[in-house]
């Protein structure tokens, strides 16, 4: 009997003790994409060092904002740490979702000067640019472009393009050049298959088309508001240059996108590119390690920062890591953040495919040669611009999604009408929020 008991009880107690030993755990929420897998891999080191088990909940991008913001609005305790979009910082700070990190940074010698200034401004501060920090820059990102280098390298295509446009087929320096190249490939048969110009963002549901069209609008010099009079948008957001940029984006959609590319964002663009449908894809830097990994000799794909037009600018992506104020394990979560901020961990983060914002990593002499897209990333992070980061950013994003999609994809009305209506919608939101 004793033997039987020992056979059953020993494993039961062992299991109970093992649970007890691993009772300290943290849950981190982020979007489900390649960098999240890299972070999961990196975090094993934290578990090895501290014994704290790391749990992850990665939500697919189309539902990411809805899932996480619902969680925060309900003051949920699911997450101890959250890697939230840059636009959420205003909401996170003003509604008390995120823990203010200034005292923690001071106590632990974490200096924001050690991180890329654009990322600190975008991911960490609220009010914008003030020394009030609610996140640590975790994942630098910007909207960029990948192109089929192997097609561009074909002498017969190079010759044909030069005779048609008078300049070399290569990385486009402006949006006009990008358009020439996209239309050059549109409907062209290469290796027995019909190819198309570019997979650009056209998604309607979350933020896709806004992120795409602003890449053009920023390059045309768009400003959301009067820099001297906040929330004065008329004449800035709907300036002639902005209108031209939106019209140009529609031209890109009509003349360069593959058929059926009317509701496409990250994965759809990636699929169109990987399946050989398009010469260019617009996407976030976060996807380039995956694209690059499948092209070990660098023959197929090339990468470049958002082309300039009137000015050089790029749409900001990326996220900061924050401690959720409703978590019961804030101290432990701060421990993780302290560990994550270490320069050697940041270097490992970059090596695994995460985009570190730490100056030690970005400023390292080896950085530019460490990946084919590294130089583009550095260039982009110097020229990034972001959407509104107001607490009401979702209310600001949705009308823009609808109006721009209505014009670009649906072909309804004019670009000027669309921008004017967006200003009307935004004015209503700001009035309701007491900002105007």
């Amino acid at each position: 009997m004793r033997k039987i008991l020992s056979v059953f009880l020993v494993p039961v107690f062992a299991l109970l003790f093992s649970f007890n030993a691993k009772s300290e755990s943290l849950t981190l929420g982020w979007a489900a994409w390649d960098p999240a897998n890299a972070l999961q891999e990196l975090s094993k080191e934290f578990t090895a060092e501290t014994g704290v088990e790391m749990n992850f909940e990665f939500v697919p991008w189309p539902n990411f904002a809805e899932r996480m913001l619902n969680e925060l609005n309900n003051q949920g305790k699911t997450f101890d740490l959250l890697i939230g979009d840059s636009q959420w910082i205003g909401q996170g700070a003003e509604y008390g979702h995120y823990v203010k990190l200034n005292d923690f940074f001071d106590a632990n010698g974490i200096s924001m000067d050690d991180f890329n200034p654009a990322t600190v401004y975008a991911y960490s501060t609220w009010p914008k640019g003030s020394p009030n920090y609610y996140a640590l820059p975790a994942m630098g990102d910007a909207l960029a472009w990948a192109y089929r280098k192997d097609w561009f390298d074909r002498p017969e295509l190079q010759a044909e393009f030069k005779s048609k446009h008078g300049y070399d087929l290569g990385v486009p320096k402006t949006w006009d050049e990008l358009y020439d190249m996209c239309t050059f490939f549109q409907g062209r048969e290469i290796d027995g298959q019909v190819r198309y110009g570019a997979a650009i963002n056209t998604e309607r549901g979350s933020e896709g088309i806004t992120m795409g069209v602003t890449a053009a609008m920023y390059a045309w010099g768009m400003q959301y508001e009067n820099p001297d009079n906040p929330y004065e948008m008329d004449g800035y957001f709907n300036s002639d240059a902005s209108v031209e940029a939106v019209e140009f984006y529609r031209k890109m959609y009509e003349d360069c996108a593959p058929p059926g590319h009317s509701d496409a964002y990250m994965v759809a663009n990636l699929d169109a590119y990987k399946s050989g449908q398009v010469a260019f894809q617009m996407n976030w830097y976060a996807f380039w390690p995956g694209v690059s990994k499948e092209d070990s000799d660098g023959r197929v794909s090339g990468f470049f920062a958002n082309p300039c037009q009137n000015v050089c600018a790029a749409t900001l992506g990326g996220q900061g890591i924050s401690v959720v104020s409703y978590s019961d394990k804030q101290d432990l979560a701060l421990e993780y953040m302290k560990w994550f901020a270490k320069p050697d961990i940041q270097q490992k983060w970059w090596d695994l495919g995460g985009y570190s914002c730490h100056m030690d990593v970005l400023g390292s002499p080896d950085f530019v040669d460490s990946a084919v897209y590294a130089q583009g990333f550095l260039d982009s992070m110097g020229i990034v611009k972001d959407f509104w980061q107001e607490p009401t950013f979702v209310e600001l994003m949705l009308p823009m999604q609808e109006r721009i999609h209505d014009y670009v994809v649906n072909g309804k009305g004019s670009a000027k009408d669309a921008l004017d209506k967006i200003i009307d919608d935004w004015t209503e939101v700001f009035e309701d929020d007491g900002k105007i």
Partner: protein, 300 residues
Amino acid sequence: MKSAVKKFKGLSDKAIAWIFIAPTLILLLAINIYPLIYAIRMSFTNFYANKIGREVKFVGLKNYKKILGKEEIWEKMQITAHFVCWTLVLQALIGLGLALLLNKKFKGNELLTTLIVLPMMLSPAVVGVFWTYLYNPQVGLFNYVVNFFYDFGIFDMIGSSTLAPWSIVIVDTWMWTPFTMLICLAGLRSIPNYLYEAAEVDRASKWQQFIHITLPSVLPFLLLALLFRGIENFKMFDLVAELTSGGPGSATELASINLKREAFEKWKTGYSSAFAVILFVTIFGFGNVYVKVMNKIKER
């Protein structure tokens, strides 16, 4: 035990009836009536569920005035009306046609019925996702089949503002016609044979039999099916959200999709409660009128 039985015996019939009804009534009050009253109350406020600590003010009829005066809301209502009307017309015609066909006895009748009924057993979200693939202009089967009959070239069902409203009508019709068909089939099978035998004796043609016997008998069943489908389609969300997300632009943004965006993305709780009340009253009003008309038809 005996005393319990005794106590139970001591209760009046009315009291026993209340005991049996009470759990359902409590559930109904908790799950339906209370939220409805709460939503009506919210609809008169400026409440935002995500703005913690913000003062909730009574705004009277402001939300209702705003909604009813908004051109875009009427556009969404038109889109919804287009969707509801066309799906009902198509589902009535095709459903009745299929029911008449399957009411005949032939080999494989049961297998064919099962196959036709399959689409309505699927999850609307799944149907939405796989129809996006079927509609894909490059690799989708839909374009291939259409072009097989007439060469339209490449066309984008869900990317074109003209075609997208029809794309959702087609998918809903594909999915829910079997429901109309099943209800009509039940109606057809309830028609006594002697009516047709008497008509044969009176030398009535097949068309006359259909007009004077089949149609009047099956009409109440068909109307009932359309009532269910009408209510469901008025608040259609999942299938369309997966298929088009309301796009392109707002070409397929049904009232319910717009309501969800206002309520759970913009978090305009007061405003969206008012919109929900308006939709509820609309469905309730139409439903009541429809039931009255249906009863009159039944009485005839």
